[in-house]
Symmetry: C2
Subunit: 293 residues, 2 copies
Amino acid sequence: MVDLGPYDVLLSVAELGSMGRAAERHGVTQAAVSARIRSLEGALGVTLLERSPRGTRLTPHGALVADWARVAVDAAEALDAGVTSIRSEQAARLRVAASLTVAEYLLPRWLVALRTEHPETSVSLSSRNSTDVAADVLAGAADLGFVEGPAVSDDLDAQVVARDRLTLVVAPGHAWASRRRGIDAERLRATPLVAREHGSGTRAFLEHAVGALARPALELASTTAIKGAVAAGVAPAVLSSLVVAGELAVGTLVAVPVVGVDLDRRLVAVWPRGRPLAGPAAELVGLATRRRE
Amino acid sequence: MVDLGPYDVLLSVAELGSMGRAAERHGVTQAAVSARIRSLEGALGVTLLERSPRGTRLTPHGALVADWARVAVDAAEALDAGVTSIRSEQAARLRVAASLTVAEYLLPRWLVALRTEHPETSVSLSSRNSTDVAADVLAGAADLGFVEGPAVSDDLDAQVVARDRLTLVVAPGHAWASRRRGIDAERLRATPLVAREHGSGTRAFLEHAVGALARPALELASTTAIKGAVAAGVAPAVLSSLVVAGELAVGTLVAVPVVGVDLDRRLVAVWPRGRPLAGPAAELVGLATRRRE
DNA sequence: TGGGGTCATAAGCTGCGCTTGTGCCCCTGA
DNA sequence: TCAGGGGCACAAGCGCAGCTTATGACCCCA
């Protein structure tokens, strides 16, 4: 497996314009940075940085590698932020409960942003289904919750932090893939889909919007597995736009319009009614909200 | 920086259902896998795998971590595949020249797929602008090229491998963000944008489609920098849908419809006319094409 | 002409993660 | 009922990657 360390320092060097300053940011010596970059260049047989006595800039090769590296490093940081938040022994300043879609796709990046803006804030995350999240917040087991759909309880204050849209996706070769005029609710109801197991918030929302569904063609435990099955041509599926954005852009999956049904959904932060948000909770909600408005 | 190694083996264990088989896949001993997973669990204070004498399955915590990890591991593999392809000393079986959008966003994943399907195929990649790509292929300096837009030369055969669409994006707080009826060509022409430097294929395509543009508000060298500037509210920008898919999904950027202008674009593979595609080149084009139809 | 900035190189040490070898547990099948 | 095989865990020992420290070379500017 690739060691992202050298790429991380490459990005710092590119951003800061000097190996010495990058070394400082990473808490190591300038010699260590120099050696890391050199060995990376050695492995590639290509120079990535143009050194000068006044500093350092990316070569064209370096710029391409840096662009690739940024994606990987960002993903690794999101993983790390997520993983840190489920570390159990910590005395967390902020306890968050989140439904799966939020926990899987949005929270890690929010946590990365929170970590850079407020490094002193430690977060503990538990991933539950939407009703459990509300229960945890009401019971005081969590300071802040994130759920899909309209807020569930009158005892909770809520604020919309993001939106998504349930999206009907098929494999590129599927008959529906080129269907411009879309699929209506009746047709959708009658079609066996690849679905998550019962109890999933997404599945409940879909049934609420279009009515009772046909028996699933296949039930799978993870979103990733569902995407795989759809791409392999097993059956269509309905998933959050957040989940399939990458695949749609690249063309691995194709979105099919669904007509006559409102599949827009709000992702909301919830907390006990009457108690104004303060401290780390307010910071996190603010940061999540700022990402969209 | 996070070490992705343990996460990579976690994914293998989850997929294969046993530490021993995961060890075999990674070419290490079962003891090494066991130790890696244990230390990962130790660092988290949470068990990720449910061991039994018949094998091993993910716990709920494990499933969440695995979903996060998959994103990071995939990104790292794409980085590695890309980086391997610019390694200079290799005797490549296939020399590819690609324009920036393709090289940056699509090729790494194609290379990952190619590596798993045909591990013996080594690829060398050079990233050029569209006219240079065509020239390289014609001159025999590259076996295969990838360019944006309609094929440039009559001496080249071409095949569409993907599509994208130039997308007008603004910061979520921008006045245009909530503008449902869109922006027309005239308005767009009159607005200073954040743009890449002259010579970029995307910029040329845009000028061809809407006409001469206003002087840019800011010229930047990398797509990433442009996205950052747009999100910071400097000015709107027009970028490939491939480039902004992630940001649009998460809400960091907002797409504004452009009316009366066709911004759809084809990304095509090109090779010398008359010489039918064969061997590794055919495999790569086929694989790239299969991802969308 | 010296001082502050840049990066490179060399020598030495430390610690992480591997392998090998073993033990224990459970299921299965003769 | 017991042997065998497949599952995972633990302990001891080793090798190497990457760090630090120390120094040198180079360039620019005051």
